[in-house]
Every structure is written in structure tokens, then in C-alpha cells.
Symmetry: C2
Subunit: 417 residues, 2 copies
Amino acid sequence: MKASIVTIGTEILIGQIIDTNSAYLGEKLGETGVEIASRFSVSDNKKDMLKVLKRAQEDADIVIITGGLGPTKDDITKKVLAEYFGREMYFDENQYEILKEFFVKINRPTTRAHKEQCNFPVNTEFLSNAMGTAPGMLFTFEDTLFLSMPGVPYEMKYITENHVVPLLLSKRENHIYHHTIQTAGTGESVLAELIEDIEDGLPEHIDIAYLPSLGKVRVRVSGTGLSESSIKAEVNTVVEQIESRISKFVFGKNQDSIESKVGELLKSNSATLSCAESCTGGNISRLITSVPGSSAYFEGAIISYSNRLKREKLGVKEESLKKFGAVSQEVVEEMIDGALSALGTDYAIAVSGIAGPGGGTKEKPVGTIYIGVGSQSNKHIRRLQLTKNRAKNIEYTSYAAMNLLRLFIEGKIDSTD
Amino acid sequence: MKASIVTIGTEILIGQIIDTNSAYLGEKLGETGVEIASRFSVSDNKKDMLKVLKRAQEDADIVIITGGLGPTKDDITKKVLAEYFGREMYFDENQYEILKEFFVKINRPTTRAHKEQCNFPVNTEFLSNAMGTAPGMLFTFEDTLFLSMPGVPYEMKYITENHVVPLLLSKRENHIYHHTIQTAGTGESVLAELIEDIEDGLPEHIDIAYLPSLGKVRVRVSGTGLSESSIKAEVNTVVEQIESRISKFVFGKNQDSIESKVGELLKSNSATLSCAESCTGGNISRLITSVPGSSAYFEGAIISYSNRLKREKLGVKEESLKKFGAVSQEVVEEMIDGALSALGTDYAIAVSGIAGPGGGTKEKPVGTIYIGVGSQSNKHIRRLQLTKNRAKNIEYTSYAAMNLLRLFIEGKIDSTD
């Protein structure tokens, strides 16, 4: 079974919003064994939408559409679907009752625009939406299933999880199995060379893909086949071969993140963590606390953006700031000590650097960043030389610092890291 | 002139990475007056890629392709393009020299896989890539321009800015002009009702679109026409009408963010800011410091994730924590006072809440969050009742707290905020 994904909205095409819905749907469909045949984004324009619906139908058994169901005038998906199917529109009293109840619940008035939202193509099957005002819709047309959902991500996700996934699971035939190896600390081509012979020896129905992002590379092994258990076993054998070659870089699998891995290590050691952040401005703490339950090991942080707070809150010496500068091995060492004692934790991460785009010098150009991790007994500091791009530097640094902590707790750290 | 965007990579289709390249390209093409006709994502599969290239060519004068140019075996874009154009591949000595120089510069060895990257379809025009190993490529085929770039975002951006944008600017004819009004503090349908008559009175060539995201709604006014200056003037007149209706919610325009607006307000008042964050875990500080130059007004923050640090670092009373709980108006008031005095700033933001998914009680269910802003003379605290979704709660809360600070500094705060 194959699916096509269509996202509707001029705002997507002109890049004002990033299409995260397609990625989410791709992942969910993959989990249900549905192959994604194609993916389209189209503007709020009838002619273009009709063309894309036709192409999506050509490619797939199921067409999944998001967007264009809101109360405003640029939302024309339902009218275009009615035209595409050759069906009339009608006012659905039952959906209007559901809508009015929803507004009573959230204690807001029903607007006229919302009432107009209760017009639908005839022969619509509704998929309830507890998160918003526009229900999901299901249509059968020329043996193709069309699913239409709102573009607001949490509404789309609610309908997908509660209606679409169960529906697709009930229809599955061929199986796709993915296993992703999460790595950090080296690049795509180094990994590829390390496992080249494994990759060359793979059968047709098993694939390896490298997915680099800042500070991390995911290595995805995928297989397809009729038997779920045998394809899973084959993929897992390849995964084991690869992991034994590149073990130092592997921190997890599938949806694991460095932040969740660090959390697991701290929990299993009954240890606590704090941060002293300068140029990352809170991003490391944010990543650590993005993990549910992180309050079990994360005590907190001092974001010492100014030198004054580095002195007053972390006990960094005036002398060190003068002699070595805020961006130095010495200051980061003192920040680690400061975090360990001021915040009373077993481990600490500290970072100081020049994130950019301004502020560099000849000795320390933009992108010079010191990261450090430590405990009462030991400290490791590394100097990074990154780019001129502020956002990229902050993101890369945050993952590099957390990966250094991972290696430190795992006892795997050495001078090459 | 119309363009189609094609992103290549199974990882995009199955949702393992989010397609940010298309959004970036959409924005850049819009700025150069090129209309986006369609957008496709396709897997690393020859047959599917050939089909998509054909559709993209049908829709547009320019086809812009990203992805599939890396050194690994799943990168087949060049071979597929050669087949689509009916051209042979050849080894380009000159590109190999450039590649070797690049590796000398970054002090890493050239791998065999990289050498293989120097095979190209004949009649390729190269677009230099200072950020990586794969150059951009330009092809003319049946009067359509094909541009192929690496999928790594910063490489793609380098080539776009340095080669693609100048090329497109040299070819422009029809003009598109967008102006986006940035709002926070109310929903899409409230805004739509407030400006309904303005919207109904617009001519055909001017459009309004509403782009809601967590805590914010962007209202985009777009116009198209042959004269750049007259379409710009028309759009700006509509923008002025709308802004006067919804002025309280407007915090900026186009690429402005609440965080940059807050920064501007603080700078123009020569005032400083600090944060005391609990459930947002550093996300507010991260957003504030994402703005280049934020060190001019942001001193730092205390992330008091544990109650112990709320007491020790912010002076929150043991009694208040016991009597009212960490998630309460009283504790957030004390956190503001603590940040103002401990971190020595003119303004402070404080947040405490239950981000979820666990940890709720009957009186304070998951999603109960107190946000507060204050100075020496005044404080404002608000209780939010949000969802069960941790990531969404953290993001919404961060924007709501910064918007409250904006209104506070602007003197626009009232009891309805």
C-alpha cells in the first residue's frame, strides 16, 4: 500500500512556515508499513490544487492532505475536493452541534466564520478532532482513499493518532522495517568508510542511509519484505555488525537523543547535573529539560551571559577574566567548579565562546568556543573552532558538550575527543 | 517566471528529517519575485526521481533540486539527472583539484568516495561551494533551467545566496510583494473578524493569509503586479489599515520576532533583563540570546529546576513553597524579586509550572503555568492553563512570557492580557 502526502498553503510554498506535518506523517506511515510514494506542497490556488490531487492519486492508494480547513477566506480545501470528486456541498447540523459544544468547553464564543466551517462535500466520513474546530474527513473516490486534516500540527497529530493510524494498520500488507543508529563525534564519510564492506555486501532489499545534522549523524538501515519477523531479523543483524565497528560514536537508536541518553546515564548512576552556560544562552539546559522526568537529575543552571555574573554567581576570578579572557580554558574550568559548588551537583557542563556574528579577535575568531565537563574528581575541556553562524554554533556546541558528558560518564573519553 | 522545488532523500519522505531547505528556498525565491509553482519531495529512487523531474519541468521555468549529492551510495541525483537529460557522465579534473584544496584547508584527508564525487553529467555549469565538497550545478534542458545543490542546509544556503539569487534577479519580470504583520496575544479568527471588512474590500491581486503558530499569528498581505513601486504602495496601505485595527496585538513585521522586539525595547530604554526559569528550563533565555547583540541587555538567568535552587539562588521562601506550592502566583512573584536582586537587572521574567506529561494534581492539572514579569516598581503575574504536551507548553509559555514583558515595557498591559 502506497500513500501520497499533500500539504496545502501558500505560506508553506513561500517558506513562511516549515512543513513539519509531512515529516510527522512520513514517520507515522512508515510505522504502519505504508510506503510513501510522493510528497507535494501546493498554494491556496484551486487550479494548482486540482493538478496536485490528480498527481497524488496517480501515485498512491491513499492521499493524505493537510491544511486549508480553517475559518479564514484563504481556506478552500473542502470546495476544491468537492469539485475534484464532482460532489455538492451541504451544511452538516451534527458537526455544527459538535462545534458549539467545543466552544462552550473552551469558554469562547462561536463566530460566524466557524459556522461556515460546517459546510462539507456530500458523502464525507468524519474523523473527530478533540483539539480544534475542523474535523478530519475521509472520502473514497475511484478506489482511492482521500484523507483531509487541518494543518495545525497538534490537531493533525490528534486525528492521525486516533483515526488514521488505526485505519492504516487494518489495511497493511508489505512490511518496511527501519532501524536508525544514532551517532555523534565524527562525520558521515568517516562512518561510511568504516563500514564500506558491510554496505557493499548487502542484498537488494536492505539499504543504508546517512543522515547528517549538526553534531550528529544518523545511520539508517532499512529493509522491505513480506515477512515482518524475517526482515526485522535481517536488519538487526546488519545493525549489530555496524555498531561493533563504530561503537564509540554510537549513543543510541531510533528516536534516542543525546539529551535522553545523558539522562539515562545520570539516572542509572543516581547522579545530578547542573550547567554554567555563557554563549549557548540556555540552550543546553533547554535540551536537557526537554526530556520528561529530567527533574530527577537536573538541578538547574546559571546562565552567566555577562562577566559580572560569571564572577558573582560562579566565582570566576577577575584575574582569570583579565589574563585569559572569558573565552578560555581557565575560565571554563572555573565555571565548572563554580557550577559544581554553587549548584551542588555531581556533574557540571560549562561553555564559553564567541557565538557570532560579531565579537571575534585575531587570536579568538568568531566560532572559538570552549566546552567542558567535570565532576569533583576530574575535568575535561575542549576548544572548538566553528563557523560565523550564530544559530549553528550554538546548536553544534550544545550537542558537542552533551556528547562530551556522555563519553565522560561512560568512561570512554580520550584525548582525541 | 515560475519555479518548482524538488527535495531528494528517503529520509525526508519517511520524516526522519524535516525539510527546511524548501522553506528557505521559497523565501529566497519570493524575495527575487519568482513565483513558486509547485514543490515535491522524492525518495532516493531513480524511477520516482525521473517522474518528479518531469512534473517539475511541466510546472515551471526553473527547477531547483536539493539533496543526493553526498559521497555515500544513496546519493544518485547526478546519475539520474544525466539519464533525464540523455547525457553521459565524465570525470572533472578541475573539480577534483578544488576538492583536494578544500580538504587541505580543513586539514582532513581526501577519501576515495570524495574522488568519485567528481563525476558529473557533461555540459554541467558549476556553482562554487565554499562550505562543502559538492558544488552546485546548473543545466539548461529544453528551455528549462535545472539547478542542483547539496541537501546540507548551510551548503545549499551558501550556493543560493552567492549564485542562485543573483542569477534569478537578472531574469525577473512580474513582481510579488509580501508584508507580514507579526501579532501575539490572540487567535486567528478574532483577528479575521476584526479586519473582515478590509479583507472583503480587497482587489483580486491583493490577498491576506493568516499563519498561526504557538502563541503567535502572522498576518501576511501579498500583492502581485508589473510595477514594483505601485504594488508595494498598495500593499502598504492595506497593512496600515489593518495595523490600526489590531494595534495592541502587533509586535513587529516580516522577520521580526518577539525576542528581537523585546531586545529593541530594552536597548532603547538602556535597561537590562534577567530570567528565573523553572518549567521552561532555559528556553526563554535561549530565545533571548538567539538575537545577535543580546549581551547588551541580557545579563543572564537562574534556571531553578529544583525547589532547593529556588530557595538558595532566588530567595524563594520555604514557607511559600509549602503553603502555595512551587507552581503558584506567590512563588513566581518571589522568583521575580529574586532575579531582580540576585542578578541585578531592571526587568525580570519568571516562570513556574507543570509542563507535563506527568506531575499534575486536581487543583493544578498538567499545563498549569504561572508567568510573570516585573521591575522594582511593579509586577504582573498570569496563570495559563495549557495542554498535556510538554514541548508545546514550553514553547507557548516562552512566547507568552516575552509578549507580557513587551506589553509591560510598552506600558500597554491591562487585566485582559
